[in-house]
Symmetry: C2
Amino acid sequence: MKKRFNVSVVGSTGAVGKEILALLEKRDFPVETLSLFSSQNIARASFKDSEIVFLAAGASVSKDLIQRLKASNALIIDLSSAFRMEDNVPLIMPEINGHLIQKNALNSSPNCVASLMALPLFPIHKKWGIKRIVATAFQAASGGGKKLLQKLHDDTKSALSKETSKDPHFYGFNLFSHTSPLLDSGYVEEEKKIMDEMRKLLNAPDLKISATSIRVPVERAHSISVNIQCQGKISLEEVYKLLHQTKGVRIFEDRKNNIFASPQDVVGKEDVFCGRFRIDPSEPNTLEMWIVGDQLLKGAALNAVQIAEHLTEKKNETI
Amino acid sequence: MKKRFNVSVVGSTGAVGKEILALLEKRDFPVETLSLFSSQNIARASFKDSEIVFLAAGASVSKDLIQRLKASNALIIDLSSAFRMEDNVPLIMPEINGHLIQKNALNSSPNCVASLMALPLFPIHKKWGIKRIVATAFQAASGGGKKLLQKLHDDTKSALSKETSKDPHFYGFNLFSHTSPLLDSGYVEEEKKIMDEMRKLLNAPDLKISATSIRVPVERAHSISVNIQCQGKISLEEVYKLLHQTKGVRIFEDRKNNIFASPQDVVGKEDVFCGRFRIDPSEPNTLEMWIVGDQLLKGAALNAVQIAEHLTEKKNETI
């Protein structure tokens, strides 16, 4: 008999929580009992018998629960930003650093943009040593939760009816800078997460990186335009070869017909789609590429479920 | 009595042509006669008495007409890409290089993204010497003409009705790589225009630049995220001071409320809006900024009309 697990999901009614539940079923995760908590009913929640706990209700809920959880012996997978940058908490993508998973303690799952970008960039970094990244993220509405997705629909209907709006973050045929708090540096919190977490994920504390996050009128799936300067001598041929072999990455290009990955192509897909590879002639050993991925899957729920799979026989191979 | 001019507009029924007509009126341009041609009725068009000719019907029409026009003594302003990179044709933005205008010959007006970007970058280049630019453009539908704007509306209505599509360039809550022809370099033609024209506009043949063009579901106005490495020692304080003084540039930031320029803010506006200035810590003397402008105005029609104004008393000052 295979071992089965007592699983708890905190934030089970949110967009990411729902995807976790769907993936546990789809991937045939060996569940013994399943306990679901929304952020409303966690006050008296007990995790005494939990063996795996997913925290998908945001940073403040994770912070509230962490003391209660630390007493348990569970594998805790926090999808929020609450503890990602703490030294004693590993930031996990199983394909990159699955060996760091703390099977009876707290693990963090990274920011959506950072995880979608890190998966194809990790093999590039291993082979050629990435020196500097300039990343521009086209972030979808569902990354901001149900409310932002509803706003996208409402504002788009207004725009189609030619209504005008004074809302500075009007979302009908319009885009705007990510509305996470602006820091003294001029970067917004989302951009800082991307920059900090990329360094931690790639285990490259000296990696230079600048990120820009823009909210675009797309329902689901983030796109990222990335400029990557490497130390080693890159060639396009080897980039294709390398990423063809990378599990979880799909090269999606029809260059003859000028077709590359779009958000609609990746919705519901587990892979991170890449393309538009080109040598940037403006610096030596520099690559431009285009990355599109479902931020609710590999950018959140899927990565968390893959971490949990390290307790089972269905482990992901590291890249 | 002020001198008045015989003006011809080729492509007068297109999106840019219409804006030229509106601007001539709005800016009280001294028109004596106005001759309008659509691309359908140019075969027998005569420009014998024209003193100013706007070519706004695309590159192939400009190429067809150029021999007939060269015989004239007119100020020719070509808004297409047909001749922009030819050595004997100046690429003009009046604020940058108005002194190069050929008053009785052919002048080119630059690509929309290049012009919106060059206006704020020119004073930065003059002061600190730009070494390298990484630019990511969020390009609106109307840059692709009436057909693409209609497609945006049609596809968005389909998306709101939850219809799915196999169109790789589906435009309902979706974005895609700019569909201009893909070159052997892996850049699309639009990106090559931006890179080549920035060098010519800034008179900086050695400027290093890489560009990415993405078509986003926005009706009108392009946005550009720009990473700018300079030679000289930049400071944010001086960047603000410099751009505050730059004619045609408007700093649009409400940092306290996290409000920056959006496409909807600039539609119909002549200025290029800038903001989100921040020092990129990943390279010395490097600036991140966000530029949004109406690509039909300063990105096309307005710049062309400003070139024509060099024949009148209403000249633009160079920056």
